[in-house]
Symmetry: C2
Subunit: 456 residues, 2 copies
């Protein structure tokens, strides 16, 4: 078994031709979303469908509800995926050496930072732009915190010739001009939220003219724009089923690449905010387990400051603060929960993907919560060993992978660990500066909310 190689590249002819949909393979059918009229009456599936149809193209809605196991990736999407896919899979040999691991304990990582956005987000932004374009939509409205999702959507919009309008949380708009500039350079239009362009925005500004905004307000503004203009749709970068579906390209490639390495992972690790990068690498391994080809544990890693899977309740809750979205059955800390100001902004979400939540609830995936400073220490150790500076979000997966390796070593077991390095940290140097200066703190969930929008 195994090889002494470091890199396991796939030929571009081997980009998977279908995404994997986990829904039909779950122990129980996924619970449907719920929504209520202003008077409290529960809406029927048709009414919910109608509401969603004003936000998303039909092909995306079909994927959201699909019971098909494999969904073909359109050729035009594969062509654009080829800008950066297949992404590399590497063995972290120097990190293994630095950790002093025995021969039987191995660490592999799939690296999504080679995308033009520097993260896995284009994996879903590209097909979302494609399906909208195919249905004649000329504009996509979306929200962004610090700009990670907004950047990916702006790139995808540029590639398919579709306008992208981004409502960016006000405080980030002011504090993070470079992310805004990136979106604008790709042709995106970026508004500081709350804005005077929407009723939701004007309502907030009337109450508080100095509002610095929030993700909840930005979602409301983007949805309002989409609902009011038939040529405009809305797009979301995580949580939803179709987003998880698109991200499975990561795990499907990884399975091919681990075969080139003659290895099967014993544990597959990824960080979890809304759940899309974990879904991306873990769902295809869940399928492989059902096929009897894998026994891998699936390990979701979240910040202690926002421990949705490890400390949240499994119940119906809203996807946003403002109540514009339907309710979904998921692990949640409550839709009004504001996590402490950790720098892994992409992991500061009160809820989680319903599919990921269900996998955890059914005992098919594990979850662990880790501290911010330990994550940064792991990130720096990884950067100095392997050369790549990780995004703060991805550092959660690195820490958990290192902990798995140490655990195997302590127990005298062999273990092959695969983690998803979901993005690079070239846009996160302020966070590294704070870590290098010893200024970062750890936050317990119980310590409550300290909003730090710099981290969004």
């Amino acid at each position: 078994m195994g090889s002494d190689k470091t890199r396991f590249g796939l030929d571009e002819t081997r980009i998977p031709e279908a995404w994997y949909n986990v829904a039909p393979d779950l122990k129980n059918p996924p619970a449907p979303p719920k929504a209520f009229a202003p008077d409290g009456t529960e809406l029927g599936p048709d009414q919910i469908g109608e509401r969603l149809a004003s936000l998303f193209p039909m092909e995306i809605l079909k994927q959201e509800m699909s019971a098909e196991r494999w969904i073909d990736i359109p050729g035009a999407v594969i062509d654009v995926y080829k800008t950066y896919r297949p992404s590399p899979l590497l063995r972290a040999r120097q990190l293994e050496k630095d950790l002093g691991l025995p021969e039987g304990v191995k660490i592999f990582y799939k690296y999504e930072g080679v995308s033009p956005a520097g993260s896995h987000k284009p994996n879903t932004a590209i097909p979302q732009a494609y399906y909208n374009k195919a249905e004649g939509i000329t504009k996509i409205a979306t929200e962004t915190g610090a700009g990670q999702w907004g950047s990916a959507m702006s790139i995808a919009g540029a590639l398919y010739g579709i306008d992208v309008e981004v409502f960016m949380v006000g405080v980030s708009y002011d504090q993070k001009p470079y992310r805004r500039i990136l979106m604008e350079t790709y042709g995106g239009t970026v508004h500081k939220s709350p804005s005077n362009l929407t009723e939701s925005g004007r309502h907030v500004l009337a109450m508080d003219p100095d509002s610095t905004g929030s993700l909840g307000i930005a979602i409301s503004e983007a949805c309002e724009v989409a609902i009011k203009d038939p040529g405009t749709h809305y797009a979301l970068g995580s949580v939803l089923n179709h987003v998880c579906l698109h991200q499975t390209i990561i795990g499907l490639e990884a399975i091919e690449q681990m075969a080139l390495a003659n290895e099967e992972p014993d544990v597959v690790v990824a960080c979890v905010g809304g759940g899309s990068n974990f879904a991306g690498i873990a769902f295809p391994y869940y399928h492989r387990k059902l096929e009897g080809k894998s026994k891998a544990r699936l390990l979701a890693v979240e910040p202690k400051a926002c421990p949705t899977l490890t400390a949240g309740e499994y119940r119906y809750d809203l996807g946003d603060e403002a109540g514009m979205t339907p309710q979904m059955l998921m692990y949640t800390l409550g839709h009004d929960f504001v996590p402490a100001g950790i720098h892994a902004g992409g992991l500061r979400y009160h809820g989680d993907s319903p599919l990921v939540s269900q996998l955890v609830h059914e005992g098919e995936a594990e979850a662990v919560a880790v501290d911010q400073t330990a994550c940064f220490a792991a990130a720096v150790q990884f950067a100095r060993a392997e050369g790549i500076l990780p995004a703060p979000e991805s550092s959660h997966a690195i820490l958990a992978a290192i902990n798995e390796a140490k655990d195997a070593q302590a127990k005298g077991e062999d273990r092959t660990i695969l983690f998803n390095l979901s993005g690079h940290g070239h846009f996160d140097l302020a966070a590294y500066a704070a870590y290098n200066a010893g200024e970062l703190k750890d936050f317990d969930f119980a310590a409550g909310a300290t909003l730090c929008d710099d981290a969004l």
Copy 2:
């Protein structure tokens, strides 16, 4: 001929095993460096060799002077190259469409932005760190402007366990904290130059306590540290023969990848500052021409603000302002020339690689100078078509490639264009902001010097 594919990936087993040294294949033997004692006496080759031996490891000096055509890449270097190599080669199909090119006019690009530094610089930083480590050197001192080279050297130092001490031009140290943080996160030590740590630095500060520094001063400080400490060497990121040698990995891969595309380029394009990324892609094609397998024109692109190859003199000149380096035969605008403040900081060099200069002087390579604003326009067009935001330096190659395509179209000729996309622009968003805001200017060489260290 040709294929309708977009991406031409190489398997990691096909990373070239030797670099190509152009020196023995030039029409005339390369001219040796010259140096002079303080009294004006010319030093002999042995004296120059002795001086250089205090700065560089023997293997690097051998490469600098080598007459061997192929120089083996150590296995330990190939292992680290595998972190990001082979880099992708892509066909710019959407850009071709947007330009309305006929079928026979094709644009390909080799993309070096997938490296952990985001540019081609690690191609030489890695072997330089390796050879220094192999000779027992524990520390490398180097200079950096805005931090592109300093970042690559810090990464390579971390990978090989060698300390890296960077003298960073003072104004950039203050204005570009993120680049400094990047170097520090990899374990590099970064000093604001001029510093109190060296005689050169103290001398400058005594004359002008508020000095904001310059690349020339920073080179002097780094060389002084290397000369005074036997365990410390110096490293340079461009210009020198061994740097060009290491960069040929780019062109050697590209030749393999163009074969996968069933195409031979008619013109090979790269930007030129010190010359290393041009050498990297063009020298292997020069060799291919000598073999009779290629008729490609080799096109070097430089900024009009610093038109070394197109408006400089071909003569012996110093490599730095302060006179710490030997004199080299090259195109130069004079070692005291300070180029206008364009944002392509990597192209603001008064001289050029002696090997690249000789190729141009012997009529084997062409050079063209272009305007800054036209480069940014090309960069934005490219980003919106192909998804990748280019570094301002690389945008010079993009503009020249587009101009080649338009020229072929106008003449009704077929033409296959290959350019080197030497890096991404994720660290250059201030420059894009200025461009988007219409604030960028063009500078003629004649317009003289307007120092803008923000661009360094």
